[in-house]
Amino acid sequence: MSIPGVNVEPARRLERKMAAQIKVLLSKLGLDVHNRGLITVANELRDAGMEVIYIGNSFPKEIIKTAIQEDVDVVGVSSLGGAHLTLGGELIEMAKKEGLKERLALVIGGVFPPADGTKLKEIGFDGIFMPGATREEIVTSIRQIVSVKMDRPP
């Protein structure tokens, strides 16, 4: 299946890969109103040298579409409103359908009951960040996930 957008600017992608600059798309999941945490994460990932695109509130279909267009390495979503499993699940399904699951790191952060952390892992999120996750944890974990996915040193 050819995926529109995946191979745009292959040179640039390679360049980024060589320079080990990770490109991240961040979005609030659905209608959740709390964005302080995600904006903080945006800031921290940028400070850690990553290229960050913050798109505000969006839904799985648009998030995946933007991920393809922008050719990102990581999609990070934030949910504090309870939709982590429903919309989160949709996001993973959508990524699988587009064949992105293997090369795209999908991470989620927010407020969830502890048991749901395990569920999120099971449905396919590569990284799960609960309240209290430190900058160090988030940055290191994203670098590791990306390096595994892209087969490059963290």
């Binding site: 959740d32 109103v33 800031n43 913050y54 505000g56 429903t86 969830f112 209290g132």
Partner: protein, 586 residues
């Protein structure tokens, strides 16, 4: 050319200079005290302490105001009891808006309630009332807050989450089943002007249906542009000037037609929780209130007609004395603004009445039981500051909506403060403390300075459009985050005294199942049975009113009567006003 408009600070400075009455401390005594103090400092205070005489406490959502090691009358040498404090219930209302404060009226225990469908929320409301809650405080779910219907594709997976789902009058009816609307006070947490314009009419129509006249209804809405345009993160926004106009339309209509209802609650809470200091929280709310009153004057209303029912909503965080001082400071500043900027003679207009909710972002996921202690201190600070009503956050809120057990514990926290500690027997117990008075003065000055900054930009709506507040928030919380990571802000159990072993898990609330389907079915039934011609003509009339600049609420009321849903009404706003993209800074 029009004369340059004077700022509130300039007006207060002009009207309040030279008016010092009678300082409490006589100059002789102060002079002697000064000598004694220097003597004490050089003999009794070690060099380290002298060097670090002023220390800045670094706390969650703190204002970073430096503190001296010891406060004395020298910290506030011009202290004039009658002018700076007055007795309680007396100008400048520093000590409280009522003479007898909690002896006359206990603070209202108004715990937030809302999750799942209207039926579940109705059950929780009854549970809280049965356990001694004295007010109702209804929080709406994400689609309702963002103004989409439960059957909108954007709402899927989120119906009944973070609050209760409301699409139409039918849901409002179920939330308040068996609850006599003329005998309770109800806070409808309609954060935004847009959803106030949509949801409050549904409540009014419910009263109509039950044969309760609107003049018997008591309660409040929030109706604050700051929440819709700055604090909210959402997919669609209407432009600030239109949002502000709806805020004012709501105020005007409710004032005219529902006389006992508080038509606006300037919400500093959510703003501060988003990431601002306690000073900015209050400055923004005051600037918005000043802007509102100016607009109401422009519309030809009397100041007191509006000001007598204004209310505020604050977030108390962890710096205990700062929180007590802040509530006292803003009460005095509001009095000055009303008296000298708006020339009112009505004491009611000078009252800064407020509801508070203990800080949610101060709560930690790590060792969640510690949050019970945090919330209790926040609540105590508020009571010592003299607030009118209170919500105490639950210890499990870094996990989910509170369980019934956790919600009850929050109510119990209030009841223990109220009934067991004795703190409510004495009005303004910290008044006169050298420290608290100095801090109150400092905070008042800082709030006024920020109000001035906003007015110099061109007023609150202009400041919003220019992203002044968006930027300030981003700077504040990024800095705060860094201080937490570096351990400068200490959080017990998180970055300070971390437990070496994991503690046993707590019970966590699970959302009821099947709410979305039930909501969709109820809304579907309504869509079938309503008169579609009436619906369309009500929506059309609303659109014309939006465009012509008429007050929108009579039209949204008609929409509610004929069975329009929330999403349909918001769609009209979007069509009439267009969309706005708020600035994002990070």
């Amino acid at each position: 050319m029009a004369e340059k408009k004077r700022t509130t600070k300039e007006i207060l400075q002009e009207k309040l200079t030279g008016g010092k009455g009678i300082p409490l401390y006589n100059p002789e005594a102060l002079k002697r005290l000064c000598q004694e103090f220097e003597q004490w400092r050089s003999t009794m205070v070690g060099e380290e302490d002298r060097k670090n005489w002023c220390v800045t406490p670094h706390t969650i959502l703190g204002s970073e105001i430096p503190r001296e090691m010891l406060y004395t009358p020298l910290s506030n040498p011009d202290f004039d009891y009658m002018q700076d404090l007055g007795h309680s219930g007396q100008e400048p209302f520093t000590r409280g808006i009522h003479a007898n404060m909690y002896r006359g009226r206990e603070f209202t225990m108004r715990q937030l309630t809302g999750f799942g469908g209207p039926e579940e929320t109705n059950q929780r409301i009854k549970f809280m009332l049965a356990h001694g809650g004295t007010g109702i405080n209804v929080l709406f779910d994400l689609p309702t807050i963002q103004m989409y219907d439960s059957d909108d594709p954007m709402s899927r997976g989120q119906v009944g989450m973070s609050g209760v789902a409301v699409d139409s009058v039918e849901d409002m009816d179920l939330i308040f089943k068996d609850i006599p609307l003329d005998r309770v006070t109800v806070s409808l947490v309609t954060h935004y002007p847009s959803n106030t314009a949509i949801l409050f009419p549904m409540y009014l129509v419910l009263a109509e249906r039950r044969g309760i006249p609107w003049n018997k209804l008591r309660g409040s809405v929030q109706n604050d542009i700051t929440l819709e345009e700055v604090v909210r993160s959402g997919p669609e926004y209407i432009p600030p000037k239109d949002c502000f106009r709806i805020q004012c339309d709501n105020i005007e209509f409710i004032r005219q037609n529902v006389p006992l209802w508080n038509f606006v609650t300037y919400n500093g809470y959510n703003l501060r929780e988003f990431g601002t200091s306690g000073v900015t929280e209050m400055a923004v709310a005051l600037a918005n209130a000043i802007g509102t009153l100016e607009e109401m004057l422009r519309r030809g209303h009397e100041v007191d007609w509006i000001a007598e029912r204004l209310a505020f909503f604050w977030s108390p965080a962890s710096d205990f004395f700062e929180e007590v001082a802040r509530i006292r400071a803003v009460r005095r500043l509001w009095y000055k603004i009303m008296k000298y900027r708006f020339d009112t003679q009505s004491p009611r207009s000078m009252w800064m009445r407020c509801h508070v909710q203990t800080s949610g972002v101060s709560l930690m996921r790590e060792e969640p039981l510690n949050n019970i202690i945090r919330a209790a201190y926040h609540a105590l600070a508020c009571v010592l500051g003299g607030v009118q009503s209170l919500h105490v956050d639950s210890y499990d809120e870094a996990y989910s909506v509170p369980t019934e057990e956790a919600a009850l514990l929050s109510l119990r926290t209030q009841q223990i403060i109220q009934a067991e500690t004795g703190v409510t027997e004495v009005v303004d117990p910290l008044g006169g403390s050298f420290y608290v008075e100095a801090l109150t003065n400092e905070i008042e000055m800082r709030i006024l300075d920020e109000v001035d900054e906003i007015e110099r930009i061109g007023g609150y709506v202009t400041a919003l459009e220019k992203g002044w507040l968006h930027k300030k928030i981003a700077e504040y919380f990024n800095n705060e985050r860094k201080m937490i990571e570096k351990g400068v802000i200490k959080l017990v159990g998180y970055n300070f005294y971390k437990a070496p072993v994991e503690l046993p898990p707590i019970n966590v609330f699970r959302y009821p199942e099947g709410v979305e389907e039930k909501q969709k079915a109820r809304l579907g039934k309504l869509r079938e049975k309503r008169d579609i011609e009436k619906v369309n003509s009500a929506l059309l009339a609303l659109e014309e009113a939006c465009k012509k600049g008429e007050n929108v609420m009579p039209y949204t009321l008609q929409c509610a009567r004929v069975g329009c849903s929330e999403g349909e009404i918001f769609k009209v706003f979007k069509q009439a006003f267009g969309l706005w993209k708020p600035p994002v800074f990070w």
